[in-house]
């Protein structure tokens, strides 16, 4: 982290900040493998990890394998499944317009959550990082929505966005017109309104993560930047952002993956309506599995989400292997 920032600064000897040189390590010495070491290095660690591994296999791995199997079948969700090969996937990619529309909504959701909460969180964290007195109270207040259950948040925002009772209606009562709109009842605003409500819940969490990362940046970097005459924006762009880059990129990757898993707020607020305009893949899968009794098809759709998530993870790993500092 520090080398590429500091190497651009004249007079800074980067060798001073490198903690050690590889050639100074002592030569490797072979150690006899005793029974004691076998217990210590193999048996005991595995003994500790085995229970949770078995639980993981039972609760995560096995259902995942079953999901893959059922994706190749016609299955109502009950009883026996009939193997139908790739028919479900053919339907997804060549027939099902609902899937395409939902995928588009997930991508829109992803773009929203890769920008809006990140911008808000970075801005707030950057401000809070300089607050000495009372900073904890601000952090708590901004983090508070994250700990409220999603059902409660959805209920709150259903009323806040209501054209009859909500913020728009109250503003209209005092003469500010134009906002008493049925945000959740219109095809052009429903999805973004849900995203807005979810963002209210989520961005505080992101802010706390970024703030923690910011606090790990050595203060002498900011001192050096000030000496060079950097203003607040230049400090943020040249010191803060590079300093928290791994955290930012990691959260970008997670948000991309989570965007394909969104379900609860959409279901709580609109169930994918009106007219399917806020339908996302999670809702489509739920309806296929539990309303249309087409669980095999729903499993196939779920598998496509795993595929998209895998692409994102592989991209991240690839970039890291290429030397990207993320």
């Amino acid at each position: 982290m520090t080398r590429d920032v500091l190497s651009s600064k004249e007079g800074v000897d980067t060798h001073e900040v490198v903690p050690f040189v590889k050639d100074d390590l002592p030569p490797k010495v072979a150690i006899p493998w005793s029974r004691y070491r076998f217990m210590q290095k193999v048996v005991i660690p595995w003994a500790f990890i085995l229970p949770i591994l078995l639980l993981h296999a039972l609760v995560v791995l096995l259902p995942a394998i079953q999901g893959v199997y059922y994706s190749f079948t016609e299955w109502s969700g009950f009883g026996a499944a009939e193997f139908i090969g790739l028919e479900n996937f053919r339907r997804i990619f060549f027939e099902d317009t609902d899937y395409g529309r939902a995928l588009g909504n997930n991508l829109l959701w992803m773009v929203f959550f890769m920008t809006v909460p990140f911008a808000m969180a970075l801005f707030a964290a950057s401000l809070l990082s300089r607050v000495k007195t009372g900073g904890l109270i601000y952090r708590m207040l901004l983090f508070l929505p994250y700990v409220i259950p999603s059902v409660v948040v959805a209920s709150i925002w259903r009323y806040l966005l209501s054209p009859r009772f909500g913020i728009g209606a109250q503003l209209s009562n005092i003469g500010i017109q134009g906002l008493d709109v049925a945000f959740l009842g219109r095809t052009d605003t429903a999805l973004l309104s849900i995203a807005f409500a979810d963002n209210w819940h989520f961005w505080g969490f992101l802010m706390v993560l970024f703030l923690t990362a910011m606090q790990a940046i050595p203060t002498d970097l900011y001192d050096a930047a000030k000496v060079d005459g950097a203003n607040r924006w230049q400090e943020f762009w040249n010191v803060t952002l590079p300093g928290i880059r791994p955290t930012v990129f990691f959260m970008l990757m997670m948000v991309m993956i989570w965007s394909f898993l969104v379900f609860e707020y959409v279901w709580l607020l609109t169930q994918g309506g009106p007219g399917g305009s806020s339908e996302v893949l999670g809702v489509v899968i739920f309806k296929n599995a539990f309303r249309r009794f087409d669980a095999g098809y729903a499993a196939a759709q779920g598998l496509t989400i795993s595929f998209f998530a895998s692409i994102i993870v592989l991209l991240y790993v690839y970039l890291r292997k290429r030397g990207w500092d993320i």
Binding site: S76, G77, F78, G79, A80, R158, L161, S162, P163, R164, F165, V181, A182, L184, G185, R186, T187, T270, Q271, G272, G273, P274, G275, G276, K287, F290, R291, R292, F293, D294
Partner: protein, 439 residues
């Protein structure tokens, strides 16, 4: 330390207590234990107190243990998929029951029908909903129909009369709207996918029960002009703003808001099911002096007709070790006395069984009148088919969702019905049509 008399007294007291407790505990252990799951809400608790506890006091051989679940439908689905679940299974709809029956997860009930005479007790068309390929798997519960609830005080004050035909309803709605009142207060903000009740009501009451039967058996297509006219009529009423001022509030107001709007007099009518209890939004406790009543959804020719449907069903888990005892409980739960008690104490809709007028003795006369009127109309063949009970699953889901697009203008009524026909044809080809008793 203790006197001899005191010790004797205590030994005697303990002996008496043991004599009282032990027989009761032995008795409880002798009874066969079966389980049933109910929703963990006021209704579930009331059903437990009214039906289950009553059965446990009555039966000398069987004891039913109630487990209240936070979301019984989802919990049950997971349990059944894993080969577990209670002995007595509540099913959220007849179509779900048919799926469970097809999957071999429920005990066939034909033998119990003969043993308990359920074919005499249940209304035939309702019992048929639980059949798959001739075998009965579920017993129907919660008889449901659709009516129009209205603010009677508002009607009386304005001289508005209950409409006899659909044309009268249109005229009345225009009159109400001209008076600055919202004709219908319906709001589906909490459940957009419940909106299917509106087109379901209109196609039934516009086309009539006989035509609905023909469509549900595939004799005529869903694209028939009579259905198109019904959907166009409904859509016109929505576009006129007669349903809660338009799609904005139709799509966002909660059920509670819709009810309050009716009670306050801001709206005049509310198209909903027989399950609705308007008491809580009318009268002093609700902050108004209004009264309510209901009238049947009008038909084209003015003949009284009611959509028929059931909202739930009950079956026996195929993994149950005590199916006979579970059937014994179901027989009790669906007896006239138990149903009357549940109806009066829990405000839970009656099961579709033959029942005397005494069952309604404690009920609100307006609610009792629904069942009486509906029963009479049904006996005369004037009944239709609720979309949530008689449509195949995929068609029913699309029916609820696509109508939203019609109201929003992104789908034409023609395309809506074409899609329904497509899904109906597919369900028919796959043998997934719900059973439909002959008229």
């Amino acid at each position: 330390m203790f006197s001899r008399n005191r010790v004797t007294f205590m030994v005697g007291l303990v002996s008496v207590l043991l004599l009282l407790i032990i027989p009761a505990s032995i008795s409880a252990q002798d009874k066969v234990q079966v389980t049933v799951w109910l929703n963990d809400d006021d209704l579930g608790q009331c059903v437990k107190d009214t039906i289950t506890d009553g059965f446990n006091a009555f039966s000398e051989t069987t004891e039913v243990n109630v487990e209240l679940q936070p979301n019984v439908d989802d919990t049950l689905r997971t349990a059944l998929a894993g080969g577990a679940g209670p002995d007595i299974i509540p099913v959220d709809s007849p179509s779900s029951g048919q799926e469970l029956g097809r999957a071999g997860l429920l005990v066939p009930l034909n033998g119990y029908v003969t043993q308990y005479g359920w074919d005499e007790r249940f209304v035939p068309w309702a019992l048929e909903l639980g059949r798959v390929e001739g075998e009965l798997y579920t017993l129907p519960d919660s008889l449901e129909t659709l009516v129009i609830w209205y603010n009677k005080t508002l009607f009386d004050d304005n001289g508005w009369e209950v409409p006899a035909t659909l044309a009268d309803l249109v005229t009345l709605s225009q009159t109400i709207a001209d008076a600055g009142v919202v004709p219908f207060s319906n709001g589906f903000g909490e459940c957009l996918n419940c909106m299917g009740s509106l087109p379901g009501a209109f196609i039934n009451h516009y086309a009539g029960g006989e035509v609905m039967y023909q469509a549900l058996t595939g004799e005529i297509p869903w694209t028939d002009p009579v259905f198109l006219e019904a959907i166009i009529l409904l859509n016109d009423m929505v576009q006129n703003g007669w349903f809660n001022g338009g799609t904005d509030r139709l799509f966002t107001d909660s059920f509670n808001t819709a009810h309050v709007t009716l009670g306050s007099g801001e709206a005049a009518m509310y198209l909903d099911g027989s399950w609705f209890n308007p008491d809580y939004v009318f009268g002093e406790d609700a902050g108004n002096t209004n009264d309510y009543d209901w009238f049947p959804i009008p038909t084209q020719d003015g003949e009284e007709m009611y959509v028929t449907g059931v909202g739930a069903a009950w079956g026996i888990n195929v993994t149950s070790e005590h199916p006979d005892e579970a059937a014994e409980y179901l027989d009790w739960a669906f007896s006239a006395d138990a149903q009357a008690e549940r109806f009066n104490n829990c405000n839970f809709a009656l099961a579709p069984i033959r029942i005397s007028e005494d069952a309604f003795a404690q009920a609100d006369p307006r609610t009792a009148r629904i069942y009486a009127a509906y029963g009479e109309a049904a006996a005369n063949g004037n009944y239709g088919y609720a979309n949530w009970a008689f449509f195949p699953a995929e068609m029913g889901t699309a029916f609820d969702e696509d109508i939203q697009e019609v109201f929003l203008g992104s789908m034409t009524p023609e395309d809506f019905l074409s899609h329904m026909q497509e899904l109906f044809t597919a369900a028919q080809a796959d043998g997934l049509l719900p059973p439909l008793p002959a008229r």
